[in-house]
């Protein structure tokens, strides 16, 4: 699947020029061998395997997928925390794929990250004022009283009491800590903020606060977000466009309402059918699509379409051919799907049965003998 950034023509309501372009990004992690001296070819975890994305200024791109599908790896590759295996990342027209750390440093002001764990992402031994002031210290832009003034301004901006400047992270609640993380990311009013599951670790009531804070800041400061989550309702609320990931590949990408109205990929359909609905009447009309099996090992991903071992609509073509990432069934250009047999509007796939032998489906998730393989199952959305 090397769809070279087939750019959506009709952009979303918000958004202008392309801020970030990711082309065919690949990230493989070598698997540590248990043998003292390694023989034979090395195994690799195919964490991200050919992802192309475009993010426009001012929009929010939601990235959803099960645990272990490569969302966070993708985010860390974009932020250049990992060196990528192959592909190309372009930020504001600058190729940052292989930019050395020293050249990358000024760009980091423009591209920030908010982390999932509000407990783990703040250094427990440092005071909040010094944590939020870190960007100023690292880039040597403000010091002393000036830095303190700017840090307190940031604390106010995210709804923290500036008098708590000298406290330690342990003295704050989870939601307040996440605000600290947001304040740190905002230090230089960056253009792009990568939110790696920023609300997954928080209580539902606090989630709403943080999401609203992020939305307010976006309209105030004109921020662009990559918003990673496995909670579909959260993603629907914040995103302009949504990309669904499965086993290191993007399976479907569409403007958010398009995605919910016309899910084309069977995987998307299954995910959406699992979202709880508050209206019991509509629940009756809906069929939940239960996927069989577990997510296969990313060390030895299935051939063809990666979803075929679990897909209710799978056929021989899905095993043999990698589906192209293109608009299907007459969708608009911004709605891309990687599926040979996309789901038509109104089609119920909960009763569909795959047209390939069960044998084939098992082979794909076999584990090499004598190896230690981690199998990660998703919690489901």
């Amino acid at each position: 699947m090397t769809t070279q950034a087939s750019s959506p023509v009709s952009g979303p309501a918000r958004g202008g020029d392309v801020l970030l372009r990711v082309e065919d990004l690949v990230k493989h992690f070598p698997v540590k061998s248990s043998q003292l001296v390694h023989r034979g070819p090395r195994d690799y975890v195919h964490a991200v395997d050919g992802v192309s994305l475009e993010i426009r200024k001012g929009e929010t791109l939601g990235l959803v997928g099960e645990t272990g599908c490569g969302k966070s790896t993708l985010a860390r590759c974009v932020a250049r925390l990992y060196d990528i295996t192959s592909g190309r990342i372009e930020f504001e027209g600058i190729d940052i794929t292989r930019l050395p750390a020293s050249k990358m440093r000024p760009l980091r002001r423009e591209m920030q990250m908010i982390f999932q764990d509000p407990y783990g992402s703040l250094n427990p031994r440092r005071r909040v004022g010094s944590i939020i002031g870190d960007p100023f210290a690292i880039h040597r832009t403000a010091s002393g009283a000036d830095r303190k003034r700017r840090v307190q301004h940031l604390m106010e901006l995210v709804g923290l009491n500036p008098e708590h400047y000298n406290r330690f992270p342990a003295e704050f609640s989870g939601g307040q800590r996440q605000r600290i993380g947001v304040a740190r990311a905002l230090a230089f009013s960056p253009k792009l903020i990568i939110c790696d599951e920023p609300v997954s670790a928080l209580d539902v009531s606090i989630q709403a606060q943080i999401i609203n804070l992020l939305a307010d800041l976006q309209s105030e400061l004109g921020l662009t977000y990559i918003f990673i989550a496995h909670d579909l309702s959260v993603v629907r609320h914040v995103s302009d466009r949504v990309a669904v990931m499965y086993l290191g590949k993007i399976t479907e990408q569409a403007p958010v309402e398009q995605m919910w109205a016309h899910p084309r990929h069977p995987y998307t359909d299954a995910l959406l059918s699992a979202v709880p609905v508050p209206d019991p009447a509509s629940l009756d009309r809906r069929e939940r699509i239960i996927l069989v099996g577990d997510v296969p090992s990313p060390i030895n991903p299935p051939s063809g379409c990666r979803f075929h071992p679990r897909c209710p609509k799978a056929q021989q073509k899905c095993v043999d051919e990698v589906p192209e990432f293109i608009p299907r069934l007459g969708d608009e250009a911004a709605h891309l799907t990687a599926c040979h047999f996309p789901v038509a509007d109104g089609e119920d796939i909960s009763k569909a049965r795959p047209a390939i032998s069960a044998d084939l489906r098992v082979v794909e998730s076999s584990i090499p003998e004598g190896s230690l393989t981690g199998i990660s199952g998703g919690d489901g959305p």
Binding site: D134, I138, H139, N161, S173
Partner: protein
């Protein structure tokens, strides 16, 4: 967004409430976070054994600092030999004299005042103990941080270096080193204080370095290290500003327990005649020389320097145990 601010304020009011009731109004504003250090210090202060040990250490430090004053008050210089009759520092047979009102701890084989020499010896012991420990911890910290943070080839090289350090028979090498430094190409150096400090400091690197490396391996995977990298922090900044403070508690505990080991190490080298050389007053050297005179009844020559060494190392060990308990996160949180 106003409700967000309100929320933060509301939460903080609840947190401060119990204290605010006691402190009333204005004072409540000054309430500041209790750092782990403050908590540790409060726990330490309640540890009676540790506080007594700290008092003893304080007395020894005072004795070392004011050693010249002690000598002046008693009128006995540290190198002054009382071979005459008034006061008599040696018996007519040339043996040391026992404790008396003139010589509180008796005299040594040269007719010198042992009490004054013990006071001066404390200077050497404490100085070597503290400085060599500092050298050990600093070297171990830098190497351990580099090994743990950079990993790969750097880690392998440093790990092999540590293996080599641990494989070397320390005492044998120390003894031979003292002879080696006196000649070309290292020397000519006079064996003594600097060589002792370097030898004692250098061979501790592996132990500290391994502790640090292990900690760094786990700390560098934390999200706040990733956050620092995402902000564009340079490796040295991450190592010393983000990682090192998380190691400090352990290093302090390790250091307080390492000081007595180093003091004994220095005394051992001097005892073997390869550390501090006479006529400088040193506990190890005194214990060594005293053996020849103990046989003829001069027990004070052996006992008092040994007691000084025992009390000093015991005090540091008890204090170090207290520090370790104080930093233990399982200790009382509210003190």
């Amino acid at each position: 967004m106003s409700y967000n601010v309100g929320d933060a304020v509301a939460v903080s009011t609840i947190e401060e409430a119990p204290i605010a009731v006691v402190a009333e109004g204005e004072a409540a504003k000054k309430i500041e976070g209790r750092s782990p250090w403050v908590l540790a210090w409060r726990r330490l202060r309640r540890d009676r054994a540790a506080m007594i040990a700290l008092g003893v250490i304080g007395l020894i430090v005072l004795m070392a600092l004011f050693a010249p004053a002690i000598a002046a008050v008693l009128g006995h210089g540290v190198y002054q030999q009382f071979r005459g009759t008034n006061p008599a520092g040696l018996t007519p047979l040339g043996q040391p004299v026992g404790p008396s009102s003139t010589f509180w701890m008796g005299t040594d084989d040269q007719g010198r005042d042992i009490f004054v020499r013990i006071a001066y010896g404390a200077r050497i012991s404490l100085f070597v103990g503290v400085v060599a420990t500092a050298v050990t911890v600093a070297g171990g910290l830098v190497l351990g941080l580099a090994a743990g943070y950079f990993g790969g080839i750097v880690d392998s090289l440093i790990a092999r270096f540590f293996d080599w350090l641990l494989a070397v028979p320390f005492l044998l090498l120390a003894i031979s080193l003292i002879s080696v430094v006196t000649v070309h190409p290292i020397g000519p150096l006079r064996p003594g204080l600097p060589v002792v400090i370097v030898v004692l400091g250098f061979f501790g690197w592996a132990a500290v370095g391994r502790i640090v490396r292990g900690q760094v391996l786990s700390i560098r995977e934390r999200e706040y290290i990733e956050a620092a990298r995402a902000l564009g922090a340079r490796p040295w900044r991450i190592m010393f500003i983000d990682i090192a403070p998380n190691l400090l508690a352990q290093l302090i505990v390790y250091s307080t327990l390492l000081i007595p080991v180093t003091i004994v190490g220095e005394a051992s080298l001097s005892f073997l005649g390869v550390g501090i050389l006479p006529p400088t007053a040193d506990w190890g050297e005194m214990i060594s020389t005293s053996q020849n005179y103990y046989l003829y009844g001069s027990w004070w020559y052996l006992v008092f320097p040994s007691l000084a060494l025992l009390i000093t190392t015991l005090a540091f060990n008890i204090f170090g145990d207290g520090v370790r308990d104080a930093f233990d996160p399982r200790g009382d949180l509210f003190v």
